[in-house]
Amino acid sequence: MNSGLVARILGNLLLIEGAVLAVPLGISLFLGERRAAIGFLVSMGVTGLIGLYLSNVPAKSPRLKAREGICIVTIGWTIVSFFAAVPFLLSGAVPSFVDAFFEAVSGLTTTGASVLSRIEDLPKGILFWRSLLHWLGGMGILVLTLAILPTLGVVGFQVFRAESPGPTPDKFTPRLAATSKILYVIYGVLTALIVLAVRTAGVSWFDSILLAFGSVGTGGFAPFSDSVMGLGANTPLVLVLASSMLLAGVNFSLYYELIRGRWKQALANSELRWYLAIMGLSVLAVSLNLYGRVYGSIGETLKHAWFQVSSVMTTTGYVTADFDLWPPFSKGILFLLMFVGASAGSTSGSVKVVRLMVGAKVVRGEISRVLHPQAARPVIVSGRVMPPEVVRNVISFLLLYFAVFAVGSLMISLDGLDLFSSMSAVAATLGNVGVGFGGVGPTAGFAGLGLGSKLILSFLMLLGRLELFPVLAVLSPRFWKE
């Protein structure tokens, strides 16, 4: 293995993290939060120095193979989470390291599951850092590295493929560095628009930025203890956030098509249509179930139903209503949406609509083959035949996802939670949603879980964000032989 090059790229990653830490440091200094500022300063120094050391390791060759690519992605996400946890601990915001690590992983993987309570009392710098992690993790920290350091461009496709969500990554310019830059520009512009929209809905600048980070990265950290329930009466804000999450769940390469004036191609994308259709049907079903039982007016019903559906489906995890108190049918729909996720190439987590489409088409093909054994039934998505390797990969992913979910649920149930709470805790972390039911419901949070459970769930968040295979490949004994 070309460990020199792996070290160098990881070093660059840490250098970027160190540089980014300057932003919350500035906020804490400006607001005179001494302990937090010291925490950020120390973390910045440690991260920067280690990054500087690693980035000067000589590399044997400038070529990167698939195994080094997944190694960089898996180890990179782990160490960046590790160093991101340090300010939480040093500032005294989070007392134990396991809790700090959980919070950092939850931020970076855009899960949004929190172990913190009394969030309004925390230093602003810490709150900003938590939400900034969402923003960085949403589009991908390595994509950011590729965008800033184009010298990695030649070797980066393995990394890009392992980090970007979905079965087949979209590279839409000849140069990977250009693709990464365009993705970040689109992401940045979308974020800025959302900040303005949230601000217009009557929220302070600081909270607007944090809410925008949380929604565009489909994360879910809010600067309030009760998520956004306290702002549930502010209808414009609820609608702005619900649409922001919806937009963040769209494949970003479609925005590029739009910019290039190719409306038709963008709108003909079948994953987009399925995504909107699933969301629309879910909102309708939940609304019919809630109307008259929970909310009296049609407007209120639709507002809360859409917000919760949009939030859970895009794996954000903001809540305007305690859906744990909703009727079982609505809860069931939200639970199932945790296994859907939004589009490939978006910032959302979980399975992704395109994989379910492929799965459904394979099943339909098999059914028709019972009647016509010789029928040719290729899997066609957006007018293109999916290569058999991709179909195989998708089917294995689906199987593996549910296997991990089952095993994870059993392990968490050892903690004494009831079975549905355990299952929802795993679905919410593996799918990067961040909010579950019962013991980990909208008002409960993850603080009450044991140390072991927190570590397992942290692992599941990383596993889910990197889409299972890279992490499991690095953990397989075969990877380290040779």
Binding site: V154, K171, P174
Partner: protein
Amino acid sequence: MDILIVGMGKLGYRLAETLVASEHNVTVVDSDEEALVKAVNRLDVLTVTGNGAQLQLLEEIGVGKKDLVIAVTSSDETNVLICVTAKKLGCPRVAARVRNPDYAGQIDFLKRELAIDFITNPELDTANEVARYLLRGYNSHLESFAGGRVGLFEVPAAALPEVIGKTLAEVDVFRDLLVGALYRDGEVIIPSGETRLESGDTLYLIGRRESVTALIRSHADLGQRHVTKKVMILGGGKAGFYLANRLLTAGLSVKIIEQDEERCGYLASHLPGALVICGDATDLDLLQDENLSDMDALVSFTGHDEENLMLALLGKQHGVAKVVAKVSRSNFVPIIEELGIDRAVSPGLISAGELVRFIQGGQVASLSLMFGGQAEAMELVVPPTAPIIGKALSEAGIPSGVLIGSVVRQGQVFIPKGDFIIRGQDRVIAFCLHKQLPALSKLFDPKRRGIGHELWFGRKDTGKPSAD
């Protein structure tokens, strides 16, 4: 430049590799998904699956906004169709591979009437390269630059016993010649003053023609003249046909051995001066009956690399002075020359060199890919705004792996030292390792525009006015 390559065969891949290394934005189209997966995993290119001659696909890719389209699919007719379509869609420059000898007479017609800017024929180029090697007087001459004023020569270090074991700074026989590159154990080295010469090295000397001639005169081993009169060509395919044709025109005696009877008939009728033998080239008895050991040169041009390699080795064993083997997998060229075969030629590599020279346009006047593409010797015309201008060479930030071999200014040849200052419009002959190509083009390209420009237009603009 934004370049579209249609066809990801050996030539397409080799081209994409070279162009990506020179910082061009490359998009590749092929109908074979597997070839594209291989390309995208190893090269920073955009891949599109489909039939590259289809109008809808070309429009979708935005061929009108590309600076260049290169059609190198396996079919000549498809390549021409692609070029014509691309040109009509507004692409300023198009190039195609056309290799059927039946079309050889209409290349000029295709260029003029169908507006195809460049046509490469790998088999013809290969045949010409081999013919050049067989026909030249001195064994050591390799390439001429700047209209013949500067020569590139290949000299085994063993022929210059006084230089072995010394560093280049200590050696004085070269006087106003420069060692541009060394070939040692299958690897190319771009030397510096501290490089020590070893007996197994092959040196590549560059300099004024007269200086080279003087060096050769003073060393008897180098002066050996090989006059080739009798050539045996194994395999009468396209390349064999072109080579035989060329050698016959030069007055040599040519014997072709070809297995396919119908093909033999074609060769015999189209090459009246040649002796065409219908038989299996791998049949040793046949080769001996045809006086293999009596030949001055053996050229093995069958369709199989392995056969070519073995037949060439066989020729060497029978005392043939010059043996040449065709190898389609260009990566093996250096290894094969290690085995004692005088020349291994790869049509893909030669064609890639031709195309790269065409693409670099005005700047690169002449270019040869050396040693299976590990390094290149190229002649550049320095644009008036290049960053290298006005600084002493030792301070111009020239990376290791790049060497300025000679500079031609107003007809005068200079062998530059560290204090030499390059001016605009100089012709520079540079040696460069393949991996240092981006660094080299940075030294010579006119100023680039920034990231903002690239984001806005979705491509890098080198500030060059588009050629033609």
